[in-house]
Symmetry: C2
Subunit: 336 residues, 2 copies
């Protein structure tokens, strides 16, 4: 009570008049100790204010109690909801999240390998689609779940129907009468970029619509690149009447830039994004987009990882998360 030092298991054992082993058992498997002893121990715990020292427990149990989350950029709000989903599963399971930014700062690759091989984590959640899959092989790397598409990787993953999402966007626009549909991609080399673009092109073909290379503009998921795409669109001779952008952030940047130039959305051009970030519904007009349930994504990834850790395997299930079209005011009938 008076002491400012935290109580140890020894203190509890002394107060309860039992051995430290019994205290430990009472806490981790209460049912194997006799009722009377258990009560004595629990009241000693309460009296001393004892809390297990996680560090010591982890050392003894040869685990770290940590899950490493690899993401490209902490400051990107896109990930925060996935993190919330992860946390909602990890925290109750007594794991803490160690968040590592894979892009910020120099020698990212080296830091990464350091993390992976340093035995700092019992498991891995990878949110960065640009990482090379080889990085994640090797005997010292803990069980990992990918939260992104990844060509040729057999690791368990939680993925989103990216191609189908793109097709939903195209079909929605085609249903509105658009025949000239453009696309703004993510950064080259990113798997999301590829799968969404492929889905886009295939859907166009399925609808018998032209795939026009000039109408496929390169972006990088940021608002700035969306604004740049808007400028590029203005300079096109033959302009598409609708644009599908590979992220809401780009769509917002694009829509803002268009509106600033007096181009009306959706009267002059229809806009579809991807993600359904919160702000999409608060813009004017509201942004038509493809909804990804980001919290669910985090939850499922964490659940799969917990299963893998519990069963001491590097293999786990994979899961595809369904996407939906959310129609709003930024899309309308094709002009003319």
């Amino acid at each position: 009570m008076m002491d400012s030092k935290i109580a140890t298991i020894q203190d509890v054992a002394r107060v309860a008049g039992v051995s430290t082993a019994t205290v430990s058992r009472t806490i981790s498997k209460p049912d194997v100790v006799a009722k009377a002893t258990r009560e004595a121990v629990l009241s000693a715990v309460a009296e001393t204010g004892y809390r297990v020292n996680t560090t010591a427990s982890n050392l003894r149990r040869q685990r770290t109690g940590t899950v490493l989350v690899l993401l490209p950029n902490i400051a990107n709000p896109f990930f925060s909801q996935i993190l919330a989903g992860l946390a909602s599963v990890l925290t109750p399971a007594e794991y803490s999240m160690l968040i590592a930014d894979t892009q910020t700062g120099p020698d990212a690759d080296q830091r990464l390998t350091h993390y992976l091989t340093s035995g700092q984590a019992d498991g891995l959640v990878v949110l960065d689609g640009t990482l090379s899959p080889e990085t994640l092989s090797g005997p010292l790397v803990p069980p990992a779940v990918l939260v992104c598409e990844w060509m040729g990787s057999t690791l368990p993953s939680v993925r989103v129907e990216n191609a189908r999402g793109a097709a939903l966007a195209v079909n929605h626009l085609a249903d509105l009468g658009h025949r000239k549909i453009g696309h703004v991609t993510g950064p080259p080399g990113n798997v999301l970029t590829e799968t969404r673009r492929d889905g886009f092109c295939r859907a166009l073909a399925d609808r018998g619509l032209p795939v026009h290379d000039d109408w496929i503009l390169e972006g990088d998921f940021t608002m700035d690149s969306g604004a740049a795409a808007a400028r590029a669109w203005c300079h096109l001779e033959d302009r598409p009447t609708a644009l599908f952008l590979s992220s809401d952030e780009m769509a917002i940047g694009c829509m803002g830039a268009l509106q600033s130039r007096g181009i009306r959305v959706p009267e002059d051009v229809s806009i579809v994004g991807f993600d359904n970030i919160e702000i999409a519904q608060h813009l004017s007009p509201g942004l038509t987009t493809i909804r990804q349930p980001r919290t669910d994504i985090g939850v499922r990834a964490a659940e799969i990882l917990m299963d893998m850790i519990a069963s001491k395997t590097k293999d786990g299930q994979s899961e595809i998360i369904t996407v939906h079209l959310i129609p709003r005011g930024s899309t309308g009938p094709a002009p003319e």
Copy 2:
């Protein structure tokens, strides 16, 4: 090489032909070992692929290597940049961030006390202005830095010029000729809410402008509450010609809702936000706002905390971060 088990300090000692103590020294204070031994040890480290086991090191050194970050809601993108700033200092200092959501889930208060008293962290960064200061007193609570205003607390803090920011907004609007200026606040009880509202009222008084209770609307920092404020504004008999909202998110929600109703910004009403979140410049019109350098905030908080931990004190410096007005298209001359 062949073994899938990670090497320990013993393995390195054996390979290098020295004691474990020497290996430990070579790694933590290289200058106290002889050059020859150091080289032998380092090559043994390379050969074995040794990495220090942080858990064991922490246990022995009676520290946790962890800084606990308390925030109201992980999913709120507002905090992600502060986190990035924190991480940029903490990671090189060999501390990892444990992020705890203080609002999500039940018994938040209890979980919090649990965290604080469980000795899980060497330091604390508090981003949640609604926490009760008493929670952070007590002998078992580690050194803490507050990143928010907090009445009557003497803990070290990194704060923003909230009152001055509000005054900047008011003066900007008054300079544009507005005499009827309204305000949308944050949630009641929040310190940001209070200080910004007070700054707002004082600035109005300083300019000889009326403080009209009907023109002070309650929000909660979310876009939804901004949209609600827009609806409330529409129902006012005597409408202010300008609104200062206590967060960009509210300003965005408000502006979107106004525009959807055909009300023009800034011709019919001028809008000023607070934060300068990234999207502010991509809206149409761009959002006039008060810039808070969020990454810097995180950096300074982490630096102060590292100092406190290093010098084993619970007292540290405090710092006020300067804010700036960023004028954009959402503000214009008063109508008439």
